[in-house]
């Protein structure tokens, strides 16, 4: 017998369930008066630096039906490519931008809308620049472990072409599953949970 490593195990995930709104967006589901506003519902203030954009996201199940009970969180860098986080060692991020947002999908249409700014480029581990991207985290009834993926931007073709994460996708056919289509100042993105167009999900 060797000494014990004394490591603990991460707690196993369990689904957020159909009533995730009660905990994470109570005002959205009619529980008023507990919190002044739903956390993460507004990402910008008048002082936030950067180009205003909207993300219009849906999550589709294996039949192509949009989920109406999902919840999406995004995490992104500021306009200069800095994260507002203690682990960011390269400099101070925009104090008027936390970089984190949370939205439920609409209960009728399944559409989820984020009003935010376009993120700057962040270096990969070896110093190469990653393309502007948003980290997405998706939970819902029927999803046992929160799904992690990224949203890249269709008008960043050159940056996308040299992005180290996109470059690791073996089946090049699947790269477009991570790229949101620009329509004016809105980027439209469908997450496919299954099927031919299944989104590339991450384990990182």
């Amino acid at each position: 017998m060797a000494q014990s490593l004394d490591r603990l195990k991460e707690r196993p995930s369990q689904t957020a369930g159909p009533y995730v709104h009660i905990g994470l967006t109570p005002n959205f589901c009619g529980i008023g008066g507990v919190y002044a506003s739903d956390l993460g519902s507004a990402m910008l203030n008048g002082e936030t630096k950067g180009d205003r954009i909207d993300l219009r996201i849906r999550v589709l199940d294996g039949t192509g039906t949009p989920l109406k009970d999902a919840l999406i969180e995004i995490w992104q860098a500021d306009a200069n490519g800095l994260y507002n986080s203690p682990a960011e060692m390269r400099g101070a991020a925009d104090p008027n931008f936390q970089g984190w947002g949370r939205q439920p999908t609409d209960m009728e249409t399944g559409v989820c809308l984020f009003r935010t700014i376009k993120p700057g480029r962040v270096p990969f581990r070896d110093g190469r620049l990653m393309a502007p991207h948003f980290t997405l985290w998706i939970v819902a009834r029927g999803i046992n472990v929160g799904l992690h993926t990224r949203l890249y931007l269709s008008d960043e073709e050159k940056a996308n072409a040299e992005d180290p994460i996109l470059g690791r996708i073996e089946h090049r056919l699947r790269v477009p599953t991570l790229i949101a289509e620009r329509q004016g100042d809105t980027y439209v993105f469908d997450v496919h949970l299954q099927g031919e167009k299944e989104t590339v999900f991450f384990d990182s």
């Binding site: 195990k9 707690r11 196993p12 009660i22 995490w75 984190w100 962040v122 999803i143 046992n144």
Partner: protein, 250 residues
Amino acid sequence: MAERGSNRSPETGAFFQRDRQWHPPAFTPNYKSSVLRSPQKALLSFDNTLSELTGPVFGHAMLGELDNDLIHNFAKAGESAIGERIIVHGRVLDERGSGVPGVLLEFWQANAGGRYRHKKDGYLAPLDPNFGGCGRTITGEDGSYAFRTVRPGPYPWPNGPNDWRPAHIHFSVFGHGFAQRLITQMYFEGDPLIWRCPIVGGISSKAAVEALIAALDMHSTIPMDALAYKFDIVLRGRRSTLFENRPEGN
């Protein structure tokens, strides 16, 4: 760079790999909702980049006085929620066993009768006019947290013809890096419904299920007021950066 109210130097190492055998898989057909919502292709694995190593900070200033008291945070003045009064407390730790400070915990649950305050919940058990069902708190320097609530009731749900959820509280947890983000559920010691639940049953290891069961903690009860349950939450640990692998030329 934001301050987290701690004098530790920020940790920047990559997170330990997630043990996907320990978590439930995406596809658990006895939990029917997972069938059409489970990705089927292999996940893309890569070592954390800055996008996963960093994460949002939440300060204690955002908390309201009653945020960690579900007995009172939705109740009319002078009234309180109906049910068994309990305290849920514990620590948020990482896989190395260190307490994780500054962690935002959000929790939600059904009322004492097993009914959620949500338009999608049609269970015939009544709503409690004094119970909303949500709360939140932020861990202290040692990773500790506590909140008051009523013990939620078990409830039937449309899955099999007669499936019941064990009494449970949903937890949402932020670590220091977004890769630590976790949603899970807390169950109660001794509940026979735990081992019959198709959602719990997605977890294959008995030890992993037991890691989600809070223990009755008589030392933390408030006599003549509330029972207590202890529930520790473990998040992914970080690799040490003492001997980091640097690319050539750096």
